[in-house]
C-alpha cells in the first residue's frame, strides 16, 4: 500500500518536474510561459501518434520533442521578437494546442479513438536496489524518463547558476536593458531558454502518453502545465525547490489512487480537485514573489 503510493507519487511527479525544470530555465530569462500546458499536450499527442505509426518509442519521443519545440518557437517569436503580453500569448498557445491536437486526433484516429493504445515504456529496475523494501520500487524501478527527470535537477541547477549561459540568462531576466547595454543578446538568450523548455515539456507530454496512460484523450494534460508553473513559484525559482514541490504535487495526485482503496464514501471529485486546490493553498502559504527574477513577465522590446 505505502509502496504503491510512493511509487505512484514519484511517477506522477516526473512529468510535472520535467515541465517545471523547463519553465525554471525560461523564467530565469524573464519570460513566463503559460503555453507550457499546450506544449505538453502537443508532446503527448505527437509522441503517441509517432509511436503508434512507427512502433518505436524513440521516434515517439523525438516527435514529442519536435512538436513542443515548434510550439515554443512560435511562442518565442511572439513574446520575444514582438514583445507582446506573455500571459495572453501563452493562453492563445494553449488554445492552439488544444485545437490542433483535437483536430488531428479526430482526423487520424476517428471520433471513437479506435482502441488507440501502444506498448508503454517499461520500467528499468536498477538491480538489487529495486528490491529494497518500501522505497525500492519507488526510486529504482521506474521508467527511463523518471530517472532522467531527477538526474536533470542538478544539471539544470548547474546550467543556471554555474555556467556563463546561465549568468547571461539571469541577467536577461533581471535587467534586460542592462544586459542589452552590456552587449548580451537578450532575444537570443530567451529564444535558447524557450527551445530548451520545449524539449523538456515535450518529454513531459510524451511521458503522459508513452509511460503513463498509453493512450490519448483530448485535453489530457489536464492542467499539469499550469501546476508546473506553480511548482516553479512554490520551489522559489531553485532547481531543488522545484524538485521538492513536484514531489509534493505528485503525492497529491497519487492520493486519489491510494484513497480509493477506502471505498466510495469520499466523492471522487474531491480527489480530482485536490491538486488544483493544493496549488492555490501552497501559493498562498509561500506567498510573495520576492525570489522571482525582476523582469519576469515584462515584455522587453529592443527598439
Amino acid at each position: 500500500m505505502l509502496e504503491a503510493f510512493l511509487s505512484s507519487a514519484i511517477a506522477m511527479a516526473a512529468p510535472i518536474l520535467l515541465a517545471a525544470l523547463g519553465e525554471l530555465i525560461v523564467e530565469q530569462g524573464g519570460v513566463v510561459n503559460i503555453g507550457i500546458e499546450g506544449a505538453m499536450l502537443c508532446g503527448a499527442f505527437f509522441g503517441l501518434t509517432a509511436t503508434w505509426f512507427s512502433g518505436s518509442l524513440a521516434l515517439g519521443l523525438a516527435a514529442a520533442i519536435g512538436a513542443a519545440v515548434a510550439l515554443n518557437a512560435l511562442f518565442a517569436l511572439v513574446v520575444v521578437n514582438l514583445a507582446v503580453n506573455q500571459v495572453v500569448a501563452g493562453t492563445a498557445i494553449d488554445m492552439l494546442a488544444l485545437g490542433l491536437t483535437g483536430i488531428c486526433y479526430r482526423r487520424i484516429f476517428g471520433v471513437t479513438g479506435r482502441a488507440l493504445t501502444i506498448t508503454p515504456m517499461r520500467p528499468l529496475a536498477l538491480g538489487p536496489l529495486a528490491r529494497i523494501p518500501i522505497v525500492g520500487p519507488a526510486l529504482f524501478d521506474q521508467n527511463g524518463l523518471v530517472y532522467l527527470a531527477f538526474v536533470l535537477v542538478p544539471i539544470v541547477g548547474a546550467l543556471i547558476w554555474r555556467t556563463r549561459f546561465g549568468l547571461e540568462l539571469r541577467a536577461a531576466g533581471e535587467r534586460p536593458e542592462a544586459a542589452d547595454a552590456l552587449g548580451l543578446a537578450v532575444y537570443r538568450l530567451r529564444w535558447q531558454a524557450l527551445l530548451m523548455a520545449g524539449v523538456l515539456s515535450g518529454l513531459a507530454g510524451a511521458y503522459l502518453t508513452l509511460a503513463y496512460a498509453n493512450t490519448f484523450v483530448e485535453g489530457m494534460s489536464a492542467g499539469r502545465g499550469y501546476v508546473a508553473l506553480s511548482v516553479v513559484i512554490v520551489g522559489r525559482w531553485r532547481a531543488w525547490g522545484v524538485a521538492a514541490a513536484s514531489l509534493l504535487f505528485g503525492a497529491a495526485m497519487a492520493l486519489q489512487f491510494g484513497l480509493q482503496a477506502f471505498g466510495t464514501a469520499v466523492p471522487y471529485q474531491l480527489f480530482l480537485a485536490l491538486p488544483y486546490a493544493l496549488t492555490i493553498v501552497m501559493l498562498a502559504i509561500v506567498g510573495g514573489q520576492a525570489q522571482s527574477p525582476s523582469a519576469l513577465g515584462a515584455p522587453y522590446a529592443r527598439l
Partner: protein, 388 residues
Amino acid sequence: MSAPRSAPARGGSAIARLAAAIRPVAALILFAVVIAIVLALVLLTLGASPVEVFADLWRGAFGDWLALTDTLVKSTPLIFTGLAVAVAFQGALWNIGAEGQLLIGALAAGAIGPALGGWPHGAAIVAMLAAGAGGGALWGAIAGGLRARREVNEVISTIMLNFVAAQVLSFAVHGPLMEASGAFPASAPIAAAATFDVYLAPSRLNFGMLLAAGLAVACYLGLFHTAAGFQLRALGRNRRASAFFGIPIARMTIGTLALAGAIAGVGGAVQVSAITHRLYETLSPGWGYEAIAVALVARLNPLAIVPAAVLFGALDNGSQAMQRAAGVSPELVYVIQALVILTLLAFDASATGALRAAILGAPAAGPDDPGAPPAALPPAAPIATRDA
C-alpha cells in the same frame, strides 16, 4: 524605452505621416491575410474545401432567422465573460478565470432555482441573478484576495479555480443537487417562475441579451466616466505609481476581481434561467477562455464587447453547422480563437514599433510615434508586479 536609436523621421513629410497612420491598419490586414491562408491550408490538409467551409459557416451563423437569433443567444454568455475579462484586464489583473466564475454563478442560481416555485416571476429572476452574481463574485474575490494579501499571481490562481469549479459543479450534479430520479448527472429543473420569457418564438431570444448589452453600457460608463474606473485604469498602467497617488490597491484588486466574477456569474445564471433550466457538467463549452479573444478583439472596450461577442457567437454557431456539413472538427474553433488572439497581439506590437523592428530588423519609431495608436493592453508586467 529610452534606448538610443537612429533619429526617426518625426513630423516630416505628409507621406511619412500617412505611412505612420496606416501602418497598424496595414499590419492588421497583413495578419488577417496570414490567418486566412493558414486556415485555408489547415482545411485543405483536412481534405475540406475552404470555400465550402466558409459558406457553411456563414449559413449556420446568419443564414436564416433561426440561425441569426441563435447566434445572438450563443453570444450572450460571451458578452458576460468578455466583460469579466475586459474589466479585469483594464486594471492589468489577468483574469483567466471567467470560466470558473461563470460555472459557480450558474451553480448558485441552479441550486436555488428549483425552490423558487411560489415566488413572483420578477422576484424569482432577481433572486437567480443575485445568486449568480454572488457565486461569481466569491470565486473572483478568492483570486483577488490572494493577490492583494499574499501576492499570489492571479493568472495561476484563476486557472486553478477554473479546475476546482468544474469539480465542484460535477460533485453537485452527481450528489446533493442531482435530480430526483437519479438517472442523469443533472440537477432538478428550476421553477417556472425563475425562467426567462422567450421573445419571438420559435427563436430562443430572451431577456439575457438585453441584460448583457445593458451591463456592457454600465461597464463602459463605470470604466471611463467614474473615479473608480479611472483609478482601475491607472492601476493597469502603473501599479507602483498608483500606490504613490493613494489609490487603494488592495481594495481595488479584490473589488475588481470580485466584480469581474460577479459579471461572469450573472452570465452563468442567465444561461440557467434562459436556456438550460437545470445544471449539468458540460454547461459551458469554454466561454471563459473564448472571452479572452472576445475582450482583445474589443480592445478591452466594454461597448465593443457586444459586437465582438456576436462575432464569436456566430463563429460558434456557424461552426456547428459546418461540422455537420463539412465534417470539420469542432476544435477548429479553438484554433481560430488562438490565431485571432495572436494576430491582435501582433497588431499591438505594431503600435509599439516592435513588429516593424522584428520584420525589418531596424530600429522602430517607438511608442511616441505620432501616428501610432496606444496598445490596447495595459503594459504592466503581469508576474513581477510587487505592491509597494
